[in-house]
Amino acid sequence: MTIPSTIRLQREPFDVAEEAAKLTHGHVGIGAVVTFTGICRGSEGGERIDALTLEHYPGMAEAEIERHVEEAKQRWPLAGVTVIHRYGRIKPGENIVVVITASAHRQAAFAAAEFLMDYLKTRAPFWKQVEAAGGRTWVEAKSTDDEAAGRWRRKQAAE
């Protein structure tokens, strides 16, 4: 039985409640839904920002997200997954990304959502550029994101 998943890349804002409702509609086996939304903050490093522009690698971004959604489905008993990631110009307060996971029980839904976000932060080909009073600057990747993604790597020997 294939577990339904929705993966979308788009410029336009999305409606989190609507996407969560689509995922669970008609399902009687779902007991837990976890939703993570990433939002554009109004400041970066103490400085007020006007906008974030997200560049992406069309084709690879979808493929990478799909690879990680497939891994999440293998590792946890999920009933459904939705990942939507915007690109283009995004203003403070607007949504950037949403990850929704559904399962019979909460442990899988929480773990899969966190796993997917940690991988989205480090392996999905998107690059953020900040627009602020001083001009445009590329956001630098954080080592804490790499460390977060690293803790999901499974120990080969033990299995």
Partner: protein
């Protein structure tokens, strides 16, 4: 072979993509970065620190030691900041 550049790599090279005939003795992605760096100042600037550059061959992440022999598309970009 199609080469694609993203974010500040794209800005430094001055274009988002190009089609290049890569010499046969350029075997790995690391070799390719080194060869590209010799093509002009803009390339030298983009690939000045090859250790921070991430590479994808045919839209999948690879290490710098990966062979480029069977590649049709190779992309170079900085560490990612999505999510």
């Amino acid at each position: 072979m199609k080469l694609r550049y993203f974010a500040w790599v794209r800005e430094r090279v001055g274009k988002p993509e190009e089609d290049i005939a890569v010499p046969a003795d350029v075997r790995t992605a690391a070799d390719l970065m080194h060869w590209l760096a010799g093509r002009g100042e803009e390339y030298a600037h983009a690939f000045a620190n090859p250790k921070v550059i991430r590479i994808a061959i045919d839209r999948a992440h690879v290490q710098a030691s990966a062979s480029i022999a069977a590649a049709s598309e190779i992309a170079f970009f900085p560490p990612m900041t999505g999510g």
